[in-house]
Amino acid sequence: MKIMPCPLNGPRNISEFVCGGDVKEMPNPESCSDLEWANYVFIHKNPAGVVDEWWCHTPTAYWFVARRNTVTEEILETFTAQQYFGASQGEPA
């Protein structure tokens, strides 16, 4: 059993979580081209190594960021959105 250290709920079984994909910057849908939007929607970095991803603890619907190694399957660190993006941009923790 893999344990995910959730910033809100503490260490929980990873089966309680869903992976929401890479943390990436959303282009402005009003001004970006169709191709930029398509790349944002479909293209994945899919690295063999360290990746920052959105994860959600489904029972509490709590979203946070986890830094994970996709080769060793280690969860290196987890962050609240506020910690990750800084107080100016993040949602309240």
Partner: protein, 413 residues
């Protein structure tokens, strides 16, 4: 049935045929380099030589022949897909498969078993009917069965309505088959080598040489190798290799786990799949129950196995086959599946000139081995996207014309 088997069986001293002669040293250039010595890569080398006379071909792999997902799938072959594009494509593959053991003169143990995709709710019944009608229109043998007919086709199934997920019906695909997956890669590789190709195993590709938007060759641990054309067919490593060429792909690498039981006497002839329960099971010619489930819940470059997977798989499987409760698992493994957003492959031309891709094979690659080899060979030889591969071109993601193949693998999405 390959005739050499009979011929050698009747001889006193059957001659030793060397299937895989020692390969010459890696040359400094070839006409075509194929990265990935799995079923797809070897098939492409075979059809390049057979159909297009291109024999100065190097198949290169960091591992060994057929050691990746070719050896890790559950060997199911079927063509009962949902979209017209998908059905046409997989039907051609199945037609090629049926003649393949004679053509390659190797025993593929191609065995038509009948394939049941179980439906446990109204939505699945509806999809099954839809798939059956699409299939029939396109000449593929498929029909929707209700519970009593399901029980007639597969009397081993527990069709009791007094379970957590009762069986309401099934999509029945009589030509559904299994085959010996390793032999597919071996047969293609052997005949490709006979016609002049080289297969270099244990040779990692460290970079792809691209100059002025055109591919020039690859870097390996044994030095650079130049080629007019390069084809990548590397499944779970697709993003990494494409990254070396400067391409970003709409692919995530997610493990798909499977396992086999100890061997038992033949008892289950049909192939049973349930999308709702995330399981598929068949009994191999060796007597092992081959069992698989859904893909792992998150991306990973690893072939480890987990207890979670087996718990989830077994709980549902025992509901369908209570008699397996005493069966023991003998082996477990995983493959790294290159999942695409629309559960369809990504094949053909790329933005890099003379660089071709055969990827996005997720959980549905084995059954497409012959057709992908044949059509990728056509693509490489003609430098044009074959009509059959048009729906699967990489550029479909740029303009949102996805294939939406919900009939892909029956599990995990």
């Amino acid at each position: 049935m390959p005739f050499t088997l009979i011929k050698n069986g009747l001889k006193n001293n059957a001659s030793d045929i060397v299937d895989f002669p020692r390969q010459p040293d890696l040359k400094s250039s070839y006409d075509v380099i194929i990265v990935g010595a799995g079923g797809h890569g070897c098939a492409a080398a075979y059809y390049l030589a057979r159909d297009w006379g291109i024999k100065n071909v190097c198949v290169i792999d960091k591992g060994y022949l057929g050691g990746g997902n070719t050896a890790r799938n559950t060997a199911i072959i079927r063509s009962n897909y949902l979209t017209a594009e998908g059905v046409a494509f997989y039907k051609e593959s199945m037609d090629l498969f049926k003649e393949l053991d004679r053509e390659l003169d190797i025993n593929l143990m191609y065995s038509e078993r009948g394939h049941l995709t179980l439906a446990h709710n109204d939505a699945s019944i509806r999809t099954s009917r839809w798939r059956a009608e699409v299939n029939k229109q396109l000449g593929v043998d498929s029909e929707l069965l209700y519970t009593d007919d399901v029980a007639r086709v597969c009397p081993q199934l527990n069709v009791s309505q007094d379970v957590r997920y009762p069986i309401l019906g099934a999509l029945y695909h009589p030509p559904g088959a299994i085959a010996r997956h390793d032999a597919v890669a071996w047969g293609y590789a052997r005949d490709a080598i006979r016609m002049g190709a080289e297969v270099h195993q244990k040779t990692p590709v460290t970079d792809v040489i691209v100059e002025g938007g055109r591919v020039k060759g690859i870097q390996t641990d044994k030095g650079p190798v130049y080629a007019d054309k390069v084809l990548q067919a590397v499944a779970g490593s697709s993003s990494l290799l494409a990254g070396m060429a400067g391409l970003e792909l709409p692919i995530r690498t997610i493990p798909l786990q499977a396992c086999v039981s100890q061997p038992y006497k033949p008892i289950l002839d049909t192939i049973i799949v349930s999308g709702s329960l995330h399981i598929y099971v068949s009994q191999s010619s060796r007597g092992e129950f081959v069992m698989g489930g859904s893909t792992d819940p998150y991306p990973l470059y690893s072939t480890r196995s987990t207890l979670d997977f087996k718990e989830g798989l077994m709980s549902h499987m025992l509901e369908l086959f209570p008699f397996l409760s005493e069966a023991r698992i003998m082996r477990q493994w995983a493959g790294m599946a290159d999942m695409s957003p629309d559960f369809s492959p990504i094949m053909g031309l790329t933005p890099i000139e003379n660089y071709y891709i055969d990827a996005g094979w997720g959980t549905w690659g084995f059954k497409a081995t012959p057709v992908s080899g044949k059509r990728m060979a056509e693509c490489v030889a003609t430098n044009k996207q074959p009509a059959l591969l048009e729906p699967f071109r990489l550029s479909r993601f740029d303009n949102f014309t996805l294939t939406a193949e919900k009939g892909a693998a029956s599990v995990g999405h």
